[in-house]
Symmetry: D2
Subunit: 494 residues, 4 copies
């Protein structure tokens, strides 16, 4: 069966790539609140860092499911009274989507909704299935017609065609077939349902606001509305919010746990708490550990803003070196910025960062960043810091070298574009033109997370991007085949 | 199984209702021309009167299917080089869609495309299935997930799940299951296919332009590009355009024919020729017949522009009465026109029509119009003509009274809103405040069409809107149930 | 003093040129109606044929002047309640503007408003000053800063700098300085004022609706709202609508009158009555005169739609030849229509017109059109009619040959592009490939208008485009100098 | 003479008010670079913090002035090749404009351009004239017609009507008439001109890039393009960039200097250097001084992000207390965010800030912010920090109490809305519900700026917002009269 050969109308893509890896989504759910949509909008706003391209909310008002999904930021999409007044209902689920380059917008437009023979069903998803293409191929052969390329639609087709006399049973049937990482929130006409994959790779937390119960990708979504954090949803657990107390159903019997350690390093908001650990504290702890592992002679600790700040503060605390904002970030960078003229072609990084000259001149600087992906931005920042008059530049990185792509919902470049997959640490140091370079060690990272070190037999986290040790099967990768697009009628607006 | 309870994002509707019935679609297909999309755009432009809300073209370039579908007029959508340069290929199908009020835009966004297990498949459709809801219900129960409410998608699901080792066989399998009126054009990776329903209710013609072969709803689409009209596709015939000469396949064995007589009266363009008869000539013939049947004492024949002009010319010819444009039409009417202020609430009709006072003052006028639907516009026009100083107004209508709704792809109001379903001719005359009123008789209409009169045992045309004599089963109507919406991820633009 | 060298932001131009000359504007005014803006919108809608690019209304509510001006059609611009609810007031003036190619949108954006030292002043204008550039140059030298290139702004600066203790006196002072053709409507905080130039080249009529008084370019603007036509404003007359009855002021003492005859031939709506003559009747009379002057042996009279229809009806009446719509017009032509592909480059005319083949085949056809400008469209229409099977084509034109440009507010091409300025009638006939060609004679035109013929000493009309006999000085033309743009801060929307 | 009573079409306003005062503009100029517009775009991007509503660039290419001005962010407006390719020329000036609420967009759309009798003239302005209304009134009485309400246009009219045989002389003539604060950049057909007001209230710096010379509001605009900072333009100095070296002209003879101290406290970017002092260092110095003046017993220093960070770092350094990001800022706040539902009405501040609970729980916190305007945000932040578990909250403010409005181009609220104009420090402390509150003292502020203290006879800075000691006349304020709007023809897009 060939790959799809359909080229739909082009959709505006976002070419911006700031040399970071990206989380692909956030999810939110709420049940039992008269103003469910407004709280979903607040929660999605707090989770905006997990996806900035599009956002959607579906509510249920006892009679009908009401939807609004649109490109843009949460604060813009859900700010009009016209939109909010349509989203009536006591239950809602919502989704933020990350902007992937080179893909059509149809991918991952969420929440999806389907009128199944057992009733309406809405679904939003953070993560990635590692056997989605394989499942899709089987479904198409049986006559299923797909509308998008998203994994989320595979779930819906599995539910539509699985046995079971109610939607919960059908979800369990569908979950038995999928592999990979997924934090789901779903909504039927009597429940809002949250599910975390068997290893708990992606986060999902349970909260409470008065009589209402909530799901969110991170606790910061509860803080914004003054809701109380109750607990993390367990790996392999389904929680059903309906009448009465939340009901817990075990989807899988295993009890291994492999939470994504990169959520602590970069993805999650610093003010979130995951599995009992403050993200901000974790980052400072990594910075302290890094100072213990590799402290150069220097005058000043400078973070690469904004994500390098907590680790840099930890590094400065431990090393007793002064801390200063030696690089100033311009928050007004638009979505595109064509630079005309040969001469200014290389100013890219300066659109976003400027060296704070009086702080750096004549200093030996420790630059602290969270990670190195392609290294293009790091290289320009070093160059800018040197040009400003720093006498030495020592770079310290709050994660181990990234050597392997992620298949669990994080947008990483191909292996060939990962700097640390191509070069040794010494080579990277030369490439970046730094006086010294150190990454946190694998064991140092685990120590910072409160463990004795990495137990290679049963690691506490998913750290596949640093180790290539993938915690699930990678079925699609073993049977490569492009995704299948099946039915398309999206419409351009006049 | 309940009706869908999903309320998607609202889409801009078009509240404009000018008291006419409306054709819902036009189709076009071309195979074997290096510039297929450009010709499809020209053809759709010539067919713009059959649908003004949205338009779409899908091409096949030997490797890929390329699509562009958008709200608006053909001349605006397909005028940009960016759009046209993507629509490469030697084969193309296209579609215009009528704007229905109160429905979401998802309905009938065409051509639809699906990646089926046997390959890519694009489909556009003019008409309506009378068992679509019934078929859809069965498909959903078997796990099918629908994206739109359109009949076209039912076809695609039937093809996806029918047996047959190639797409032509599967189409024949699907066609065996559907009832109603349909002129289809489809495209696979080796053919463009045209199909007309067993009774030929909707039009479809075959043409030729050099080595290329074409399908269109009407011959005016061939004229615009200098193509040659070859023949009407027969009722119940499938014509396959591929390598070599067109191949004809009989879908049904019957030979009854029931072409929609209203196409002659109002829908089709006057410069089209259908089943050997000029539409303009047919309208003039009806006007002449009407003058023979019911000629009042009068000074002047005045058409209700623009559709009443040919019948009025025929009426004037036969009656030897002078003909003048006593009503002037303003072609600049926008899509909406809110009339603020109580006092001017009743000026609606004047936004579109103005009486040509010096022509009408002191005259006994015969007003000729093509049909009466709700009668609201007719009433205002009579009032305007009287206010201008006409001493008598005699109305003559070039169709019989419309008493029954259409189920074959024409947007007619509910029976309760059809004036002739509620009142006798005398009552209508009083309601419209005319000095006399006559509709063409049923037999007079058939005579104008070159028949001896209506053969009630085997009428030559579908005239169900005048007679209630529906030529097919009306399965959905016998088993009422709202349409089912199954999977929706349409996206509002930022 | 050099011409302006400022290039502002580009504005969307309208490349469409359908080989006609174009009126540049419509004006409307109303005083004494609580719902002034709504009536202005209706009036401008009825006058849409005089300008389709932009429209504007300014009202006065006793305290403030309120404005809305926008690109687009009247029915779209003034259909939103948000817009209309701001336009409160008992007095309003309005303007439609024609789309000129190659000019920025700043030109003629009207009504203009200025806060003068004597109070607020709004102004709208139909016509053209023939000494505007000369006046502008003087004003700039004295320190005036211009914002647009429009003549209307020259008026405003003249009023701002003229002596006089009230705005009426200042208007009279300014009018004493200008030359050319102008129908103005202006508004101050106590009056709505209409002015027609000394020769009455452009039309302006006075009407009444209950207690309110109105100005409009044509009477059809009164019909749409049921207002009563009172009289034409006289050449050289200022009419002031304020408290009590309208007040008439003579601006000039002369009594010559030179109304533009082309308003009867093409510009005005057929249902308007100007200076006591029905436009529709005038066109039919020209057609009858044309048949008397030059009747070929033929089978059928066919109008070039839509503007040729009344003359063709007159021609058919006089000649007793049958009349038929042998060419069908497609009213859905969008604003642009790129025709890709070499082969279809020449289909332009077919986007708008199609030959009605069954009516034309084997016939000797008289084609009646209102005028010939460049001849490009005429040529294609003849070619299309011949290709359809007409055996002879005789063209009859309801105006004399256009040989000279207009300087009074009509957009005519350069002399070099006027076909009749370059060729004799015989040459044009060959160029168009017709079997015979005749234009109405100059005296025939005057006879059709109810005169004995053209009195070359004192012609009753402005017919400069046919004769080069311009009724006013052409000061700017004698002192050529580009227009001067002085202060620009127009803003593109994000 | 009454105030303008004209209400133009409404323009999208930006209701967002984050309880800060705002700089109204940035200016930039460049002469002698082949790619002038691209560098202007980069410079304006670096100055985006001084104005986010609209941006404009005018270039001169030796023949013509080319302009592009648009609503939105620099990076979006000047990112299209279509825009940049029009902006050819070796000289350019540019402007960013702050979004003021409740004003029409016409205000301050810049650069303005006028075709004066001596040639083209473009002008951009940062600051505010204190006698603009008075001057405008005189100009209107003499017949001038204004298009905008901006001070910039007053300059242009003064230049248009002043004596002088060249534009430099005319500028000097105009500058002799104006009062207030203004940093101007202007462009003629042979020069780019920068002017700073006699007291140097607003900043303007001179730079060099290869052979090209530049003006900018701040040095960070030079850093982004690798240009060299040359010197500050002096108070009362005009610098002319043309052929050869820059030419300096003294506009005024005085040598007092009163630079706006609030530029150091809040407006300027921390990486800029003004009058020899690093803005970042100045803020840290204020923080250190504040710690010396008023150090509470506490566990943690927490900045209100982002503007409070440098002062908080200085405070922590001096006090030896730990520093942590106890409040996390969400940078994704859209332009509007309607909060539906009574219950969540008070979450406003949380859309932008979240307390970092694990850092704050059980701690005695010193909150450091740059200033207090209305106090609404401060109050909510304190409430949020307390709710998170902080046991004590001590607030320290890096500026003296703001008691008086600014008339020099900074958007401050009315006196009645300035918290410190209504309450004593003790009352404010109670109002904000803090355990202690201290502002930096007036002398402390001067000490932090490297002075011995404030010399009330000749203060080194403009500190009128803290003292009411305005360094110029306030003519308009003494003769109150609304601004005058004179000629408007702005156009809404279709």
């Amino acid at each position: 069966m060939p790959a799809s050969r359909f080229t739909p109308e082009p959709q505006p893509g976002l070419p911006f790539d700031d040399d970071r890896v990206h989380e692909e989504c956030a999810v939110f759910g709420i049940h039992g609140h008269p103003d469910a949509a407004a709280h979903a909008a607040l929660g999605l706003h707090a989770l905006q860092h997990r996806g900035q391209e599009a956002s959607g909310i579906v509510t249920f008002d006892g009679q009908r499911f009401n939807a609004h999904r649109e490109l843009g930021l949460v604060g813009d999409i859900f700010s009009s009274e016209a939109v909010m007044s349509r989203l009536v209902g006591h239950a809602a689920i919502g989704h933020n989507r990350y902007s992937t380059t080179g893909d059509t917008l149809l991918r991952n437009v969420q929440p999806l909704f389907a009128d199944l023979s057992l009733g309406g069903f809405a679904l939003a998803h953070n993560g990635n299935l590692t056997n989605a293409t394989t499942l899709r191929r089987e479904l198409v052969t049986r006559g299923a017609i797909f509308q998008s390329t998203s994994d989320t639609e595979v779930f819906i087709h599995l539910i539509a065609t699985s046995a079971g006399s109610n939607l919960i049973d059908r979800m369990l049937g569908a979950l038995a077939l999928v592999e990979g990482a997924y934090s789901l929130v779903a909504m039927t006409d009597d429940a809002v349902i949250g599910v975390r994959d068997p290893l708990g790779v992606r986060p999902l937390v349970l909260g409470r606001l008065g009589d209402a119960w909530l799901f969110a990708s991170e606790t910061c979504a509860f803080d914004i509305m003054g809701a109380e954090f109750v607990r993390d949803v367990d790996p392999g657990e389904m929680v059903v919010l309906g009448q009465g107390e939340p009901r817990s159903i075990r989807v899988t019997s295993g009890n291994r746990q492999r939470f994504c350690v990169f959520e602590y390093i970069y993805f999650a908001r610093p003010d979130s708490v995951i599995e009992g650990t403050s993200v901000y504290e974790a980052r400072k702890a990594i910075g302290r550990e890094l100072a213990r592992e590799s402290l150069p002679e220097a005058d000043l600790v400078v973070p690469v803003p904004d994500s390098g700040v907590p680790a840099a503060l930890g590094f400065a605390e431990e090393s007793k070196l002064p801390f200063d904002l030696g690089i100033i970030r311009n928050h007004y960078v638009g979505r595109t910025f064509i630079e005309p003229g040969q001469e200014i072609r290389n100013l890219g990084v300066k659109l976003k960062h400027n060296a704070n000259r009086p702080m750096l001149e004549g200093k030996r600087v420790v630059l602290v960043d969270d990670s190195i992906v392609r290294g293009t931005t790091s290289r320009k920042i070093v160059q800018m810091v040197r040009a400003t008059g720093a006498t030495e530049v020592h770079m310290r990185i709050a994660s181990p070298p990234i050597t392997d792509p992620c298949f669990y919902g994080v947008d990483t470049p191909e292996r060939g574009q990962l700097l640390a997959a191509q070069m040794s640490v010494e080579e990277i140091a030369r490439h970046l033109d730094v006086d010294s370079l150190a990454f946190i060690s694998m064991d140092g990272l685990y120590r910072a997370m409160g463990r004795p070190g990495r137990d290679s037999g049963q690691p506490a986290f998913c750290d596949a991007c640093f180790t290539g040790d993938y915690p699930t099967r990678l079925t699609d990768r073993e049977n490569p085949n492009s995704p299948q697009l099946s039915l398309l009628s999206e419409l351009k607006r006049a």
